[in-house]
Subunit: 89 residues, 5 copies
Amino acid sequence: MILAKVIGTVWATRKDEKLVGTKLQIVRPVDLEYADKEGFFVAVDVVGAGVGEIVLVCQGSSARQTSTTENRAVDATIMAIVDKLDVAI
Amino acid sequence: MILAKVIGTVWATRKDEKLVGTKLQIVRPVDLEYADKEGFFVAVDVVGAGVGEIVLVCQGSSARQTSTTENRAVDATIMAIVDKLDVAI
Amino acid sequence: MILAKVIGTVWATRKDEKLVGTKLQIVRPVDLEYADKEGFFVAVDVVGAGVGEIVLVCQGSSARQTSTTENRAVDATIMAIVDKLDVAI
Amino acid sequence: MILAKVIGTVWATRKDEKLVGTKLQIVRPVDLEYADKEGFFVAVDVVGAGVGEIVLVCQGSSARQTSTTENRAVDATIMAIVDKLDVAI
Amino acid sequence: MILAKVIGTVWATRKDEKLVGTKLQIVRPVDLEYADKEGFFVAVDVVGAGVGEIVLVCQGSSARQTSTTENRAVDATIMAIVDKLDVAI
């Protein structure tokens, strides 16, 4: 999973029928100090993450292993909201 | 999912039999202002996206989770047409 | 899927038993003018593509969604031979 | 699989229900001399790896092929603790 | 699949129970003249490849499509030993 920050939302009324009702969030990878890294992508939110929150994003087929994303054309899912990191080294 | 722009079409009469009838679109990744990024790849369109439209592309095994792409040799699918982005940060 | 050119063949007599009979082609990614890009990889051909032809290559689990590659240790498949590209933008 | 070092832990109380009880470790890829490489990501630990240990991380759908991660939204799993490397070339 | 050279072995006594008995080889990608490229990763060997041999490595879920790696947390498998390459272009 990668560490990312929710930075916005995608609006898309024309989409595959199985995606109706999913929330499409824009996420940007961040480093261990939560500073922005390069790039962004779009993930389905299944934990109610708001803009600005630090989250974990699961990618690939594993992104479909939640009740919200099962059997859907989703390759990235926000599956946890980060409380804090303990970095020891 | 990644944000991309439809820039053209691939014509291929000789293809795996299960791909007959699929529409193969050329897509180029774009940034949050819809400006072109590097590179391009080919995706099957399942939402009727035209050239120039901004779309979301789903990759990997999740690309097969639509009625058009199910059980087919497809690793990228255009599964939504973007209306607008709300970028808050 | 990515656009590539067939540039050669791999000979391998010692291989996983389920791969016997598959044709292992070397492919190099190309740009929209069919000029070589960096790198190369190996893909199983299921459409009879010859050396020099421009093809589409499907990667990941979707590479197994043809009758030739089903249930085999194959992560890249040539599943179409390109006739032409229409690039509009 | 890639070689990595466990460098910390992620705390996340709000997460997909199937992830409750999993241990989310932060790992950093290392080279053959165990020196840090760029970047980091988060993996579920199934072998009791502690901070500072050198481990193997399995990614993608294969990350779900353990009793701890089965059917869960997990795309990276620590599935071995490295004792030593024999590098001959 | 990618072309690589076997450069060593990983020893790991503490690992997921389904990985007991698998041979974990370190592989380094090579170019068409078998010269070393950057980086390395770890793959399970299912064809008896020795150190120094040039092999094909299959990645992702397809790495599990051999009798040795089926249902195991393995994301890269050495599934062929290369005899020679015919590069025509």
